[in-house]
Amino acid sequence: MSPLKLTGFTLTRRRSAEMAVILVLLALLLVAPTFFARISVLFFILNWIVLAESFNMFAGLTGYVNFGHVVFYGVGGYVSALLMVNAHASPYVAVIAGGLASSLLALGISLPTTRLRGAYFAIATLSINEAFFVTFDSWDAVGSAPGLSLPISYYQPVVEYYVMVVVAIACVLSMYAISKSKFGIALQAIRQQEVTANSIGINAAYYKSLALVFSGFFAGLAGALAIWQITFIDPPSAFNVTITVTSISMAMLGGLGTVIGPVIGGALLYELTDLLGLSYPFIHLIILGVIIVGVVLVIPDGILGASRRVLTKVRGRR
């Protein structure tokens, strides 16, 4: 059988130009610590990119909006923090354990929730977020409300930065691999018409679970890395629904379901929030809200989708 070609994934000459841009950006990321003093800014841009991309891995491909995305981030953070505080584990082990714990959690959450459709799924995942917040806020073994602080010896900004770079690259490459694979085609089919997907032999529940496991893994890594950098975690910062909403906004701004969209959206929105916060400290959230509403109304397919549409139009006119 001929290989399956889906719209938007055709190889063109434009691809090589894109590849060149990506390689230059990667090279800059690798040498950044030698000339850029505030690498924590880059660290958090990458952290947000991983959050947005991991959200996209499930929501962008399946069409289900996971309003509990931050739970994976929070649990990944807590598991790694507990390992470092109580067991004095190596930070690398702690970060990986955080990712694995969140992917296990994703599997558990997916079993009941992948039976739900549309808004019911969104509401269920939102309530799971609340449940985690309340539990961690009153559970003494995990530090309850005061939270946990890492011993200062764990703080190694440059090492953390490079681990973050590796995780971000792995996350974007995974999204690329998934969207190219049979797995990705199953998810596209589910997003476009789930009943039909099932009726042509796609086990929709299984593929949705698997997508959530991948999404949870990377969000868990992001949470664990954030804790390593911030050296502190408490329930309001770990299970903050604003983090979910920001991830959603970033993915939508760049282009839901695309590979590079959340990267563009993540970097852009993080910088924008930062700049607006500095210049208009009291109304920056309002400005941000207006921008997000504008994106949804004017370019619902995000920057990447809109620029593709414009490009096709321009080419057509020639």
């Binding site: 059988m1 001929s2 399956l4 070609k5 889906l6 719209t7 049979k182 085609i185 199953a186 596209q188 089919a189 476009q192 018409q193 009943v195 039909t196 997907a197 099932n198 009726s199 042509i200 032999g201 796609i202 086990n203 929709a204 529940a205």
Partner: protein
């Protein structure tokens, strides 16, 4: 030839409303069976039960000597039961060809099957050869119906369930449909169960008809026998014609 599909005392209730009561029938391998009945008779519910979208409250569904009652839809599909939807449900953003290719990718090919396994060939078979690169969502309504058939064929069915297939088609479209269905059965050995409440087109194409009313089989026989049956006339016209 033995029975390919056998339903035994299938019943389905939706919170108190009995949609299907004690339905039993068999479909022989290679047969084209028509299933008619007024609106609300339970035709689509019956299809949903056979294809695993709904679970019956009681009764058994046996396909190719295997009990498939309550089996999930994707497994029923892989065993060789394909269906078309009354309202076409394509993958709207994929092209016609991609719709068929995606189906081929996940289907379970049967070595003895005679149906083509090439996406383009299948599209040409249903008359969509000129629409290959068009997004499925932009097809006209009759073309979407053709795509439903193409997708069903791509999953290598032994049994094809056609839900209200001719409804909404023009005269020439529906005579194409009836030729298509005859050829699927004769040339490709696909067993077919076809529901319709527009009877004319169906009566010309099938060998046997079951009449469903209020969740019960009220008559069964050749088209000629069924149209003379008093219960059937009563179900459709509310009484004996004067």
């Amino acid at each position: 030839m033995g029975d390919l599909l056998r339903l035994t005392q299938v019943a389905k209730r939706f919170s108190g409303l009995e949609v299907l009561k004690d339905i039993s029938f068999e479909v022989a391998e290679g047969e084209v069976l028509g299933l008619i009945g007024p609106n609300g008779a339970g035709k689509t519910t019956l299809f949903n039960i056979i294809s695993g979208i709904l679970k019956p409250n009681s009764g058994r569904v046996v396909f190719a000597s295997k009990d498939i009652t309550g089996l999930p839809t994707h497994r029923v599909s892989r065993l060789g039961i394909a269906r078309t939807f009354q309202i076409p449900q394509p993958f709207a953003e994929m092209t016609v060809l991609e719709n068929v290719r995606a189906t081929l990718l996940f289907s379970n090919p049967r070595p003895e099957g005679k149906l083509p396994r090439d996406a383009k060939e299948i599209c040409e078979m249903v008359g969509l050869g000129g629409r290959l690169e068009q997004p499925a969502g932009s097809l006209s309504a009759p073309e979407k119906k053709r795509l439903e058939v193409a997708r069903a064929l791509a999953s290598s069915p032994r049994l094809l369930l056609l839900d209200e297939f001719a409804a909404g088609l023009t005269l020439s479209e529906s005579s194409w449909a009836s030729e298509m269905i005859k050829s699927l059965s004769k040339d490709y050995g696909v067993t077919i169960v076809w529901t319709e409440h527009v009877m004319k087109i169906l009566m010309r194409s099938v060998e046997r008809v079951l009449v469903l009313q209020s969740g019960e089989v009220i008559a069964s026989g050749t088209p000629a026998e069924v149209v003379k049956n008093e219960l059937v006339l009563k179900a459709y016209f509310g009484g004996k014609p004067a």
